[in-house]
């Protein structure tokens, strides 16, 4: 039988997708945040990020962001080769500032969401999503 590296990872119990790709520096993520906020101070909280603690499939991870009164929410996957995932803009006719999508994660990492509020203030939150394949839960 033929085992690819990826398949083999699951056999013993579990294994993480080892980062074989270049990992972006935190500075890069900070730069992206600064670009979005113009360097303004951010409150922790005020923006909600729903993501699984452990991804069932790192190739398609469901996430949801929302923030009352936000005009835009930026999502970054800090451990992906290219961290920007999406920036959702909400116009005045949007019923609520909420968006759901699925994203691809190169490995275990923090997802960051930054919301821009109508008054020009910003809010930030983050959550660690673990990417692991296969296991021995019993």
């Amino acid at each position: 039988m033929e085992f690819t590296r990826r398949e083999t990872m699951a056999t013993g119990g579990a294994a993480v997708l080892t980062a074989m790709m270049p990992v972006p520096s935190f500075a890069m993520v900070d730069d992206l945040v600064d670009e979005f906020t113009g360097g303004a101070d951010m409150a922790e909280g005020g923006v909600n990020l729903v993501a699984p603690e452990i991804a069932e499939n790192g190739n398609t991870v469901p996430i949801e962001v929302s923030a009352d009164g936000a005009v835009a929410i930026m999502v970054l996957a800090t451990g992906n080769p290219l961290p920007p995932v999406a920036t959702f803009n909400f116009g005045p006719l949007a019923g609520e500032s909420r968006a759901k999508t699925r994203i691809r994660l190169a490995g275990t990492q923090d997802i960051v969401a930054v919301a821009k509020m109508a008054d020009g203030s910003f809010a930030r939150t983050q959550k660690t999503v673990k990417v692991t394949i296969g296991g021995c839960g019993g």
């Binding site: 083999t8 603690e53 660690t128 394949i133 021995c136 019993g138």
Partner: protein
Amino acid sequence: MISRRDFLQVGMAASAVVGASGFGNWAKLAARQKLTQDKLLEFGKFGNVSLIHITDIHAQLKPIYFREPEVNIGVGPNRGLVPHITGSDFRKAYGLVDGSPSAYALTHDDFASLAREYGKVGGLDRVATVVNAIRSDRPDAILLDGGDTWHGSYTCYHTKGQDMVNVMNALKPDAMTFHWEFTLGQERLREMVGKLPFGALGQNIFDAEWDEPSEEFEDYRFFERGGVRIAVIGQAFPYMPIANPGWMFPDFSFGIRDNRMREIVGEVREQGADLVVALSHNGFDVDKRMAGNVEGIDVMLSGHTHDAIPEPVVVGNTVIVASGSNGKFVSRIDLDVQNGQMKGFRHKLIPIFSDVIEPDPEMTALIDMQRAPYLDKMKEVVGRTESTLYRRGNFNGTWDDLICGALIDERDADIALSPGVRWGPSLIPGDDITREDIWNVTSMTYGKAYRVEMSGEFLKVVLEDVADNIFNPNPYYQQGGDMVRVGGMGYSIDVSKPQGERISDMTLLKSGEVIDPARNYVVAGWASVNENTEGPQIWDVVENHVRKLGTVEVTPNRNVKVSGT
């Protein structure tokens, strides 16, 4: 036998008001009493609602031995807290007398000799007697099954879980939740769930395609008992497609989903629930955290991690009850609910000593009927053991050492890997090893034994990843099994370190050489979560090995060195 011994009444513990701490007056209740069925069932009816909890039966219809873990390490906020205390620390915490029936039921030391004295545990015909006795005391008691019921034996495998459905239906549960049931495959599961005469619950069971709550499972079910409206919310095992083969149930998604649990608790309260019960397969540490995160759950019935805890653990206003595994225990929880509030509770973890509790004859007949077509095959003696064979514990158990030995010998491998599952009864020295015994520790729907080459570097990645599933300080990132069991290789583990830094000193035992990251090693294992895994079934591999050995003797495994506890 058991009646000659002094018995510390197991479970007789907590009769406390809400908010009282977990460690109660166990020691005070210790008394020199003869162990009888009446004593085991003695309770003192309390309040106006009774819950009965059983979980993680793993298809054990008949009495078995089950050795509780010697090593069960807690990390982060759970370091040193129940259920992460074992042996003498556990006995001290609950005031259990060494050598007593309670010590035998709840701790590992001196297991073989106590097993000879006190006999086997479990058996669903004994469980039926206990359930019937509680129902005669409180006819409308609610029986809840925490899942991992339709998996784990020769008959369960061959009937695709039908034996368990037939027997459990006779026990008449009011609801259940799920984990290993999904490994029967989604079509078989749908067929069975569609016919269940009780609630199939899981607020966190989602439709994978639409990422919406599955319509095939109820979030909760309401019961009205003595004027009290009780909502039972299901919480299935959150990490099924990760810990088990997701390709067997591709339509479903899970996850912990605190947010949704919060919404559902609000919804049932709005509908007038006086008492909110979560029937959970999260595992104990996850349940503790969830009870802290989600307000409004009165009682959390905890399964998955197979912990038998003699007193409830109270988190905020939530009472968490853990009821062991393999049919070894049944919990009874009586509650006083007044004006939509839980005013107090009384709890007992009832050990099912199979020589003390009379089997229910109707249930015995029903169980024997399920087993009859397979009995000759199951009872065939394959070998004999001179050692206690057990599995539970964070690292290798003797059953796993035997299985790893079988993989190395029969599959001509350097290294063997065996999954760190927590199911599987024990055998004591002098016992025959029957085919049924081997199936009890190996049977599953993805049991093929693979043989592959892995680099030393990759082996480390595997160990690091599994270790993080157990020792991540945040329980929401744990999957609830034990460490992958390793044969042919030793290693050191510092459980306090982060992922990638826990494992060191990997050594190939047959040569004594350090594992070379760049070299490939032949690795044999089983229970791969990948589709199209090829190889013989693990139970055949083990049977061949045991047959060749004739008599099994497993020496203590000192090849895993643990630190940072």
